[in-house]
């Protein structure tokens, strides 16, 4: 394991390798919107549609002030989390041709998919932050907390994506499972509602959901204009580290079969 980590570190410090990962990420983004008319606007349209539905249906139930801002800040980052895990998890299969024909460390694929997801988020944050202002976001110094929270989220996404992606090479069930389970998790995570409206005895189930802690951090920053709760952030960090270690271990153990199974 130590030898493997050393290998990864020395590859990462290689300039050519970093350039390769960056090019892969740019390619991913270019390809995603290549043959569509609205292009990158699609990643903004989806949360807006959901926002309208939530305003129509859940506003009364949630009963918190300025529900639109709460809903939008949750939606944007929920989309980021769920979509990017999917992109990382299919990255090995998406890049099968490259994986089979160019001598490039296979960790480049999840890494570049994560990078592409972050690019995409930053791009969509430009119009969304303007919209959030109109919905009543008060600018606050706590906005800088977005950097560590995004970083920890990315580590979590990368780890989970590598773990699921490695499994997905052998069992394509995994990507189907992810696609069908995430809409359920959307309702299991306080995005359309706040955790306070859940009966206290049921709240502990919500707290078993790892996404809850990430969403709370984003809500703190963008809805409450305050620094994320330290306990939540620490839980996020611990989860990210565990998932990342697991993903890396799994990836490293089973990647020898990639070429013959993709």
């Amino acid at each position: 394991m130590q030898k493997f980590l050393k290998g990864v570190l020395s590859t990462l410090s290689d300039k050519g390798f970093r350039n390769a990962i960056l090019s892969l990420a740019v390619k991913t983004i270019k390809l995603r919107y290549k043959n569509s008319l609205l292009g990158v606007f699609w990643s903004m349209l989806n949360p807006l549609i959901f926002l309208v539905i939530m305003l129509l249906i859940f506003r009364e139930i949630a009963s918190i002030p300025n529900y639109a801002l709460y809903a939008l800040s949750g939606l944007v980052f929920w989309n980021f989390l769920s979509a990017s895990v999917l992109q990382v998890l299919t990255s090995f299969i998406d890049n099968a041709a490259i994986l089979k024909s160019i001598n490039l460390h296979p960790i480049s694929f999840p890494l570049s998919a994560t990078l592409a997801a972050i690019f995409n988020l930053l791009l969509s944050l430009i119009p969304f932050s303007i919209l959030m202002f109109f919905l009543g976001y008060r600018i606050d110094i706590s906005i800088i907390a977005i950097l560590p929270v995004l970083f920890v989220s990315s580590v979590f996404i990368l780890g989970l994506g590598m773990f699921l992606g490695t499994t997905n090479v052998y069992f394509r069930d995994v990507q189907l499972l992810w696609i069908s389970i995430m809409p359920a998790f959307f309702y299991f995570t306080p995005i359309a509602y706040t955790i306070d409206i859940i009966p206290v005895e049921s709240q502990k189930f919500i707290k078993l959901n790892p996404f809850y802690y990430f969403m709370e951090c984003y809500h703190d920053i963008f809805y409450y204009s305050r620094f994320p709760d330290v306990k939540n952030f620490i839980i996020c960090t611990i989860m990210a580290l565990i998932v990342f270690g697991l993903g890396l271990y799994f990836f490293n153990k089973y990647r020898k079969g990639f070429i013959s199974n993709i």
Binding site: L22, S23, I98, L104
Partner: protein, 244 residues
């Protein structure tokens, strides 16, 4: 020759890890523990040893499925051996089949940039190479078309031109020369010969004995993952023809 070999294989085993019986779903794997092993080991190459020296060109012969392409992948570093050692001392340019590594939705020029980046070239180096690559490929203004609109011949022009422009020390060719038209084939052969004359080592997979005897000084015969014979083109070629 007393010089160091540029490629050296010592008792190399390469295995494929495939899921047993192909069609077990996650369900069966979880609910019948122990009945299935996740991955089953299959030998693709077994106990391969040979040496290739700088400037030599070696033809790889063998039936379909005998492990030729896998051997090329191993030489290019895409597959690591399960056992044994592969020493390769130089820059390798693998040409593993037609259009592989080309992104269908992107244009020719975008593909050139991507391939160069993936092979570890910097932006500046790539920029320098682009005019040469376009010129050699003779693709002209079609270089701005999406690759999915290319004919097979055009794709092989593009991938060959990309691979060959980096002045590799070792060129691995997997039957891709056969696709272009007569003019381009000859141009490629000339280019390969020119590279050979400045000391590039070539490993060439082909089913055409005449091409191998034209291009190669040595040949290797693979049969069911074993190295049956390694030596001069004539005797290996005879042995190859005896297989059928």
């Amino acid at each position: 020759m007393t010089q160091e070999p540029i490629i050296k294989l010592e008792n190399v085993d390469i295995c494929f890890y495939v899921r047993e019986s192909g069609h077990i779903s996650l369900k069966e794997f979880i609910f019948k523990p122990g009945k299935y092993k996740l991955l089953q080991k299959q030998f693709v190459l077994r106990d391969i040893s040979f040496e290739i020296y700088r400037g030599e060109s070696v033809g790889l012969l063998g039936r379909n499925g005998s492990g030729k392409s896998t051997l090329l992948r191993a030489l290019s570093g895409i597959i690591t051996p399960d056992k044994g050692k592969i020493h390769v001392n130089g820059k390798v340019a693998p040409l593993l089949g037609l259009g592989i590594g080309l992104e269908q939705e992107m244009t020719g020029i975008e593909n050139i940039k991507l391939s160069c980046a993936l092979m570890g070239l910097s932006k500046a180096e790539t920029k320098e190479l682009i005019p040469e690559i376009i010129e050699f490929s003779e693709l002209g203004e079609t270089i701005d078309w999406a690759v999915k609109r290319y004919s097979t011949g055009m794709m092989s022009r593009l991938s060959f031109s990309i691979a060959i422009m980096k002045q590799p020390d070792i060129l691995l060719i997997d039957e891709v020369l056969a696709v272009g038209d007569k003019g381009f084939q000859e141009k490629c052969l000339q280019k390969v010969n020119k590279l050979k004359s400045i000391g590039t080592t070539v490993v060439y997979v082909s089913h055409s004995m005449s091409e191998v005897s034209n291009m190669c000084s040595k040949a290797a015969l693979l049969n069911n993952g074993h190295l049956e014979m390694f030596g001069d083109v004539q005797s290996v070629g005879d042995k190859y023809l005896q297989l059928f």
